[in-house]
């Protein structure tokens, strides 16, 4: 869309489904309106509106409407406006994107119109029109619009015929920000007013730097520093020093997570903590890389756009690792508020958890599916405290030939920007995501939120890999948080760089130089290119309609110089940008929660009802509603799907995929997370998350000695010593556990200040650590699933059960607090996992499932209903701490490092030999009764329940709240 002064003519075309065609969009909306408590809407009609701009003839309009915009079978179009079908009372709400917000349909529609040979259409925009029939007030109509139809951060309600909204052209002016003579208060105010989110010491450091230079900084310079020094980009807390319990930790990350990887010295770790993703060896010819990160704050404000750009952004990490890898797997993990919470429980300024849930899933779905990357594994946790500040973790694995694993920028290389154009979207994302969310965030941070266009990213991917294979560039990185500033700043750290901001292709005019520099507009990559290869490189991109533009060059003066036409707008030393940040020293403290194992709820006579409650709890229940919306089979590599079993709906542990179609080598992927344990002790939460991720890898047949892990810390405000104390404990657990398990960390990320200020009080999220594991599987045909296979097979529990009920789903569902949080005994756990791996590899195990939330009861139920079989098991045969006397503890304890396995009697002896020295118990046998019978310690039935009933309880909750 180019800036035009001439007022062009606007032509409207409306498209709607023909009468009698089932309109799933309108039907779904109608049910959501009923949910809001507005029951007087009798019908909803949905109309797609296209407004074409230019001197378009009526004949051309008809042609476009008939041949392109309306489906000949199911839809009808009208030049202008339709008459309403429902002639009685209607309210019309029309929603359009705000100026400057990406509308992905525009590019495709313009292309199609050009393909038709019509050149009179200069631009177009789209809007959605909803006709609500029934007797509702205008107030109710705008209530519905506000809750369901639009998000004012990116969209607006069209109130009248509008002309094209022009953004004013930019006329250059150099902006300097005077720092000399400013006192502490003024520095703080300046930081806040410009949304720099820099603290006083950092502002003073900048002031001193420019005092030495005897000049004032430009706006570009200040923004560059604020972006580079943001918590989001620099990880000031994790990389900072901490005073903790009388100890001085110089660099938290380097002394924990990074240290253990250095100590383990795994030869198959290729590149760790350096590039955009951690790289490990896959086979003789290829490496794989893995990255997981969060996109929390944007998803809180605009769930669809926030989650979409979250997955879009993390896909660009493997694309920007080494010389670029091909993305082959996606994973995602979400933490939401309670989906059926009453509206009164949702604080002002926060979206309802159900809307967040739906929007986030749609965002990940549309972006991941359209990129053609299978989303294979995930998890969802629910807790009231995530209502104002949900967590959205997105991960991606890429594969690349080994020779492309490293990059090198040299002085004289050209800086080439590839992909999407730069706009005002995503300004201040890096700094904004480092701050606390408040009930006002939606008004001050609107530019941080944006909509992605996956097809642009797919085109970039297709062409970039071609250019890589032709050897046309020397280095690549993605434009993520901080945009060009971060990408060019990092690439040119050791050389220096000059950038001509006026040469960056823009979506529309009017951007100031600093906005171009820090914009986080999506789908952009930056390449370092030898001048003699430039022409060939540009040809590759243009052959598939991808924009690529030289915006500067790398130099040898170790300076960052930014120009706008002939004006210099920034001139900073790379050493100051990257090394000038004053080191943070923070105080941390930790007060242990008293854990009392003897505190237990009243034991009911039978536990059937408790099992039903646990199975249908939000955390445990089936996530099929989500999983089915993701294409988990594209690329053809799926070997163990997220759901399988007789009816293809049983939950599996890690996913297994073959990234190369002609090889049986594979990748197992898993996630471990349990915030409920963190309320008691973040140390054991972290240990449990590692154990869980590795259990899942083991359960499918993976080897922990070929497994790498990733951390994602999401915490509240770590300026508060007790919050930071918990973070220190979690980080130390990561180090302690990974060292014994022998699993190196290869990449990680943290997101702090996950708090929501309602205006009255601050709600902090529970401390949350996600551990993601990636394991190389030698032979995918040696992997197992969790669904029980055959009547007559033996069922073993592997691993010790302890009285560890703290944070358990059983306690939470009973509303009971206290108890001991599950520990990890890493030596025994490692031994157990190694032995089980060997047994699975040898083919002794028919099915395997790890015990996690809900303990034995949930794992056994899932295995049985997934396999359509029954079983009778005896708790007295479980290996357990002798002091346990209660059935509910054995059934629902969430002790770590435990598995259920199914063994064919003919392989029993060999299986037992393979597992020698590991605590385990033969608890029963698979049968075809379709009933799960659990005998308690006294020999009496503790649970007896049909698998269909259990499956129903487990399967329905999310479908029910989402209306199918």
């Amino acid at each position: 869309m180019k800036y035009t002064l001439k007022e062009e003519r606007h032509h409207r075309i409306e498209v709607r489904d023909k009468h009698g065609i089932y309109d799933a969009v309108a039907e779904g909306l109608k049910r959501d309106i009923d949910d809001l408590g507005v029951d007087t809407v009798t019908g909803v009609e949905y109309i797609q509106v296209y407004t074409l701009i230019g001197d378009v003839t009526a004949k051309e309009m008809t042609l476009i409407g008939r041949e392109l915009l309306a489906d000949k079978i199911s839809q009808e179009y009208r030049l202008g406006r339709f008459k309403f079908r429902n002639s009685s009372k209607v309210h019309v709400v029309e929603i359009a994107y705000n100026p400057g917000v990406m509308d992905p349909v525009v590019d495709s529609a313009m292309k199609a119109i050009r393909d038709m040979g019509i050149s009179s259409v200069k631009s177009l925009h789209t809007s959605k029109k909803y006709v609500l029939a029934g007797s509702i007030t205008s107030k109710q109509a705008s209530f519905i619009a506000d809750r369901l139809l639009y998000n004012k951060l990116i969209q607006n309600v069209v109130t009248h015929e509008e002309g094209e909204k022009h953004l004013k052209p930019y006329l250059f002016r150099r902006v300097e920000v005077e720092l000399a003579g400013l006192g502490d208060k003024d520095l703080i105010r300046l930081s806040k007013d410009r949304q720099l989110y820099l603290n006083l010491e950092e502002m003073r450091t900048i002031q001193a730097y420019f005092r030495k230079l005897k000049r004032a900084p430009t706006d570009c310079e200040l923004e560059t520093l604020a972006q580079t020094w943001s918590e989001h980009c620099k990880h000031k807390t994790m990389m900072g020093a901490v005073r903790y319990n009388g100890r001085f930790i110089k660099n938290l990350l380097k002394q924990t997570v990074v240290k253990v990887t250095e100590d383990l010295k795994k030869p198959w770790c290729v590149s760790v903590f350096k590039d955009n993703a951690g790289i490990i060896r896959f086979d003789d010819k290829n490496n794989v890389c893995f990255k997981v990160e969060t996109h929390n704050h944007p998803s809180a404000l605009e769930p669809y756009g926030g989650a979409g750009t979250g997955i879009g952004g993390v896909i660009r990490d493997p694309m920007g690792t080494g010389l670029g890898s091909k993305p082959v797997l996606n994973t995602d993990v979400f933490c939401f508020g309670i989906p059926d919470a009453p509206a009164s429980k949702v604080p002002r300024g926060a979206l309802h958890p159900k809307r967040v849930f739906k929007g986030v899933v749609s965002g990940v779905r549309d972006y991941g599916n359209k990129m053609g990357i299978p989303t294979v594994n995930g998890a969802v946790c629910f807790d009231e405290r995530y209502t104002g500040n949900p967590l959205v973790f997105c991960g991606n694995v890429g594969i690349m030939p080994r020779k492309y694993s490293f990059k090198k920028v040299s002085a004289g290389d050209l800086i080439v920007a590839v992909g999407g154009r730069t706009g005002r979207d995503g300004i201040h994302g890096a700094t904004f995501s480092s701050a606390e969310l408040t009930h006002e965030s939606e008004t001050i941070s609107s530019t941080a939120v944006q909509i992605g266009n996956p097809i642009t990213e797919k085109k970039v991917l297709d062409t970039m890999l071609r250019a890589r294979d032709l050897g046309l560039y020397e280095a690549v990185t993605d434009c993520g948080a901080g945009g060009f500033s971060s990408a060019v700043g990092e690439m040119g750290e050791d050389t220096g760089a000059e950038v001509y901001l006026d040469r960056a292709p823009l979506k529309y005019g009017g951007l100031e130089p600093w906005e171009i520099w820090v914009s986080e507009a999506q789908e952009r990559m930056v390449l370092s290119v030898k001048p003699k290869k430039l022409k060939k490189l540009l040809d590759v991109f243009s052959s598939e309609n991808v924009e690529a533009t030289v915006i500067g060059k790398f130099t040898n003066d170790k300076k960052l110089k930014l120009f706008f036409k002939d004006h210099i707008v920034a001139d900073l030393d790379m050493s100051f940008i990257h090394g000038g940040l004053p080191r943070l020293v923070r105080n941390a403290s930790w007060k242990p929660v008293k854990e009392d194992p003897s505190k237990l709820p009243k034991h009911p006579a039978r536990l059937d009802n408790d099992l039903m409650k646990v199975l249908s709890s939000w955390n445990v229940c089936s996530k099929e509603w989500i999983i089915r919306q993701y294409d988990h089979e594209v690329q053809g590599g799926s070997v163990l799907k997220p759901l399988s079993g007789v009816d293809n709906d049983g939950p599996q542990d890690a996913s297994v995929n073959r990234p190369l179609l002609d090889s049986d080598r594979g990748i197992a992927l898993s996630n471990g997370i349990n915030p409920a344990y963190g309320d008691i002790d973040p140390y054991w939460m972290a240990a449990s998350a590692i154990d869980e991720a590795l259990r899942q890898i083991t359960a499918v047949g993976g080897d922990i000695d070929k497994t790498a892990i990733l951390d994602n810390f999401c915490w509240g405000n770590t300026d508060k010593p007790e919050q930071l104390g918990g973070l220190v404990r979690a980080a130390e657990a990561c180090r302690d556990m990974a060292l014994v398990f022998g699993t190196p960390f290869i990449s990680g990320k943290d997101s702090l200040n996950n708090e929501f200020n309602t205006g009255k009080k601050t709600v902090s999220i529970p401390p949350t650590l996600l551990i993601s594991a990636i394991s190389v599987i030698e032979d995918c045909s040696r992997t197992v699933s969790s669904d029980m296979k055959k009547k007559g097979n033996l069922i073993y529990v592997i691993g010790m059960t302890y009285q560890e009920m703290g944070g358990s789903r059983y306690f939470i569902e009973k509303g009971f607090k206290g108890g001991v949080v599950p520990r990890v005994r890493p030596d025994l756990s490692r031994k157990t996992m190694k032995s089980l791996h060997a047994a699975i590899k040898k083919g002794f195990v028919r099915s395997c499932h790890d015990l996690s939330e809900g303990g034995l009861a949930v794992a056994l139920s899932e295995m049985l209903f997934a396999g359509g079989l029954g079983a009778r098991v005896d708790l007295s045969r479980m290996p357990r701490k002798k002091s346990i006397t209660r059935d509910d503890v054995l059934i629902f304890s969430e002790s770590n490092s435990r598995f259920l396995v199914e063994i064919e009697p003919s392989r029993n002896d060999r299986f037992k030999t393979a597992m020698k020295g590991i605590p385990m118990g033969l608890i029963g046998e698979v049968d075809d009764t379709g009933t799960m019978t659990v005998l308690g310690l006294s020999g009496k039935v503790a649970i007896q329940c049909g698998i269909d009933i259990m499956k129903d309880a487990w399967k329905k909750p999310i479908y029910k709240v989402m209306h199918g």
Binding site: I21, Y22, A24, V25, G28, E67, L68, L69, D71, K72, I73, S74, P104, V105, D107, S108, A109, K111, A112, D115, M116, R365, N369, K370, M371, G372, P454, I455, K458, K459, D462, S543, E544, N545, I627, R628, Q629, D631, H632, E633, V634, Q635, G636, S638, K641, L643, S644, G645, V646, N648, R658, L661, D662, D664, C780, S781, S785, G843, R846, G964
Partner: protein
């Protein structure tokens, strides 16, 4: 030596099943040639020198406006003559998922009573569930041997679907009855025993559970399910339930073999 069968696999912005489709053709003994539509428009002769045209799955141009619509529009406007000649000469076309949507929106399918491309007789629209869904389905095979892509298939086979707009709607009852009379019905969604069944067996609400159709000549096949995602046993969701000795190819490969073998013998 047996004739080389050249399969032109067309891709563009948003295509994403191109590599596995090419791989399936290779497994079936063809020579797959993967080309971007821009390159094909520049070098049109590649169409004439191919035996098979495959339009793979994906989200071409984001499926903006409607799924497959923008690519259908482009092919109609840029390559109409070449494509018409290609099908008129009896060469083979397969459109899978998004490729099926493209063929239907170009009028190449079902073409019940006209030359392919001359009229629009059907559409594929939003699933009744209102959303994209990925799941394995059972398909009942063709009642006759007309379609050259599906000869020798078992009566009930399994493949995955993954789409948001797969509900087949014929223009009117006349089109539907011609489809049946002409023997153009290739696949219907069904339950494991091959009987008609509702959601989720019919995953999108397709009229008469239609999952795949061919043109009256039996050489152009369009289908929503993905045969290229079931070319080895490891891709089946429950290969482990067959016991530790599961092995072999997946049933989807038969589709490619059938088409390639026909092309080798007759083209």
């Amino acid at each position: 030596m047996a004739k080389k069968v050249r399969a032109l696999i067309l891709r563009t912005a948003g295509t994403n099943c191109d590599l596995e489709t090419a791989y399936a053709f290779k497994m079936a003994g063809a020579d797959p040639v993967l080309m971007h539509v821009n390159a094909v428009i520049e070098k049109r002769s590649v169409i004439d020198s191919s035996d098979i045209l495959a339009i793979p799955g994906g989200f071409t141009y984001g499926d903006d406006i409607a799924s497959g619509k923008v690519l259908a529009n482009q092919l109609k406007n840029s390559l109409r003559n070449e494509l018409s000649r290609f099908v008129a000469s009896g060469r083979l076309v397969i459109g899978i998922c998004n490729g099926f949507q493209v063929l239907v929106k170009m009028g190449f399918l079902p073409a019940v009573s006209s030359v392919p491309g001359d009229s629009i007789d059907a559409t594929l629209s939003l699933n009744d569930s209102g959303k994209f869904e990925s799941r394995w389905v059972y398909l009942r095979g063709p009642e006759n041997g007309k379609c050259v892509w599906t000869r020798g298939l078992l009566p009930v086979i399994e493949m995955p679907v993954a789409h948001g707009e797969g509900k087949f709607i014929p223009k009117d009852p006349g089109v539907l009855s011609k489809l049946k009379k002409n023997g153009q019905v290739v696949f219907r969604y069904c339950d494991p025993s091959g009987n008609d069944a509702g959601y989720p067996f019919n995953p999108n609400g397709s009229v008469e559970a239609l999952a795949g159709i061919c043109d009256p000549g039996g050489r152009i096949l369009g289908m929503m399910p993905h045969p290229e995602r079931h070319v080895t046993y490891l891709q089946h969701p429950n290969w482990r339930r067959r016991g530790p000795k599961a092995s072999g190819m997946g049933i989807g490969l038969e589709v490619f073999r059938s088409g390639v073998s026909f092309a080798r013998k007759h083209l």
